[in-house]
Amino acid sequence: MNVENRILDKKLDILEEEEYGLDNSLNSEDVLEDISVDEIIDDDDKFSWKETSEIINYKNLPEYFHPKIFKLNSKHPYDYFNLMFSDEIISLISEQTNIYANDFIVSNTEYLEKYPNSRVKKWKNVNNEDIKALIAVYIIMGINKFPDITGK
C-alpha cells in the first residue's frame, strides 16, 4: 500500500506542474470584499448597442478542448476515493477531533459530575482508522434505506 502511494504521489506531481498553479491560489481566503469592482463599473456608459444581422467574428476565441482526466489504472474503488479523501485529510480530522473532545471534557466537568453514566466519560483518543470506520458507517447508512414515518 505504501509503495503504491509513493508512485501515485509522483504521478500526481507531474500532472500538477503541467498547468494550473493551484497550490498557492486555492488556499487564499475567499473574501469578496477584497475584489474592487469600481473600475469595471465606471465605464458602463460606453456600451453602444446596435442591431445587427451578421455574426461577429471572434478572432481570439480558442479552439475547443476536452477535459483532461487523470488515469490511475486501478480496479479498486478505494484508490480513487483516496485521491480525494487523502490520508492528509483523515489525519486532519482525527487530530482536530481529539483536540475538541479533550477541550470539551475539560470545560464541562460539572456536567459530567451530574451525569456520571454519560458516554463522554468513555472517550478514548481516536486514530485514523477510527475516522475511516466512521466515514464507512456514514456511507453505508446512505445506501441502506429503511422506511420511516413519512413514508418516503
Binding site: D23, E54, L61, P67, Y100, R119, E129
Partner: protein, 354 residues
C-alpha cells in the same frame, strides 16, 4: 451489508465519534465563521483539481444542502422541495458533471452592491486566461461581467434580465417580437440575442454561434440550444449526490457542509473511476469503498463478542437469493430461513415456522 453496521462499531462508539467529529480548532478561530471547515476544504479542493483539468465548457449554478438548524447562513426558498437549507454555489465541468469548486453563501451581510459580479470573478479566479466558455443563468450574467471576463480570455453564454447595468433599456422597451423571431444586438465585445417562443428571452453571448433558427423539436437559435444542453450539469451533479446521501438531520451547519463535500468527493472520484473503464455501479462502488475503509479497523469490542456468542446461539436470516432448502429437523418441507453464522462453518441449520 446493512446488518453488518453493528459489526463495525457499537452504537455508543458511533454516537460518541459523531458527537466529537471536528474539522478545525475552536481556539484558533477568527471572526470568520467559515474557518470551521476552511483548512479541510482547501485541501479537498486542491485534491479535486489535481486530477482533473476541465474542458472548455464550464457551468456555474447553485445548489441547496438541506438544513433546519439555527444559523445566519440558512436560506428559505419556498419554490424548492427542500425549503430550508444552505445555499452553495457550484462550478462544474459541463461535459462530465465533475464539480471543480464550491462556495457557501454567507447570508445578507455578504450581499453588498454588485454582489454577483464579485462572486463570479471570485469563483472563476483560478480558471481565467484559459479560454473557457462559462454557462450562467440570469442571476449572474450581465454586460459588465461579460466585458470584464472577455479581457481575461474567458467567454460567456448566459441568460440575462432587461434591467441589468449596461443593458440597452430603451431598445428593449420598444422591442416587439413575434413568435420564433430572433433579433441580435451587438457591442464591440459581445452580442445579445433576443428571442421569443412563449416568453421573451435574452441571451448574452461571446462566442460564434450561427444566426439561423434550427429545428430540433421546436424552433430555437443555436445559442439557446447550447445553453439548454450545458446549463443543467450542476443540477445533474446534485441529483447524483442525492441518491445515497447520509440520511440524518444535523443541527450544526458546518456538519451539513461536511456531508455535502463528502458526497461531492465521492461522486467526483466515481467519474474518474468510470473514465478508466471500470464497470461497477454507483451503489456497488460506495459499498466497495466502505468495505476497504474498515479493512484495518480493529473491531475488538464488537466483532469478537458476536463471534464468541455465536457458538452458543443461532442468528436467523434469509438463505442467499432466497433459494429453498430442506429443513434439517423435519426433513420434509422446504424453507428460506437459516442461521447466518452456521453457514461459514458449513454446518447448515434450517428452521421452519409451522
Amino acid at each position: 451489508m446493512g446488518s453488518d453496521i453493528s459489526n463495525i462499531m457499537t452504537l455508543n462508539k458511533f454516537h460518541i465519534l459523531n458527537k466529537f467529529l471536528h474539522l478545525a480548532d475552536n481556539k484558533l478561530q477568527g471572526e470568520n465563521k467559515t474557518d470551521k471547515f476552511k483548512n479541510f476544504y482547501s485541501i479537498l479542493k486542491r485534491n479535486w483539481n489535481k486530477v482533473f483539468k476541465p474542458g472548455q465548457y464550464l457551468t456555474l449554478d447553485e445548489g441547496i444542502a438541506a438544513f433546519q438548524g439555527r444559523s445566519e447562513f440558512k436560506q428559505y426558498m419556498p419554490a424548492k422541495p427542500e425549503k430550508w437549507g444552505l445555499k452553495v454555489y457550484l462550478l462544474a465541468d459541463s461535459n462530465t458533471d465533475y464539480i471543480l469548486s464550491a462556495k457557501l453563501y454567507r447570508g445578507k451581510s455578504e450581499a453588498t452592491s454588485n454582489y454577483t459580479v464579485k462572486l463570479v470573478i471570485n469563483i472563476l479566479e483560478n480558471f481565467m486566461w484559459k479560454g473557457h466558455i462559462v454557462f450562467m443563468d440570469s442571476f449572474y450574467c450581465c454586460p459588465i461581467l461579460t466585458r470584464h471576463l472577455y479581457f481575461k480570455d474567458t467567454y460567456v453564454t448566459g441568460m440575462t434580465r432587461g434591467h441589468r447595468l449596461g443593458m440597452p433599456k430603451e431598445i428593449l422597451k420598444d422591442l416587439n417580437l413575434e413568435k420564433n423571431e430572433l433579433k441580435t444586438f451587438s457591442v464591440d465585445y459581445f452580442h445579445l440575442d433576443a428571442f421569443k417562443d412563449k416568453k421573451k428571452l435574452l441571451l448574452i453571448i461571446t462566442s460564434a454561434y450561427s444566426n439561423e433558427i434550427k429545428t430540433s423539436i421546436s424552433l430555437k437559435p443555436e445559442s439557446l440550444v447550447k445553453y439548454n444542453e450545458y446549463m443543467n450539469s450542476v443540477d445533474k451533479a446534485n441529483q447524483k449526490n442525492s441518491y445515497y446521501r447520509f440520511p440524518h438531520k444535523n443541527r450544526k451547519w458546518w456538519k451539513v457542509m461536511f456531508f455535502e463535500l463528502l458526497e461531492i468527493s465521492i461522486s467526483n472520484s466515481y467519474i474518474i473511476y468510470k473514465n478508466d473503464g471500470n464497470k461497477l455501479s454507483h451503489k456497488e462502488y460506495r459499498l466497495e469503498i466502505a468495505t476497504s475503509l474498515i479493512k484495518n479497523y480493529k473491531t475488538k469490542e464488537s466483532l469478537n463478542y458476536i463471534l464468541l456468542d455465536s457458538k452458543k446461539q443461532h442468528y436467523i436470516g434469509y438463505i442467499p437469493q432466497k433459494l429453498k432448502r430442506l429443513c434439517k429437523y423435519c426433513k420434509q418441507s422446504k424453507t428460506i430461513w437459516m442461521c447466518q453464522h452456521c453457514t461459514k462453518k458449513k454446518k447448515v441449520v434450517l428452521l421452519v415456522f409451522v
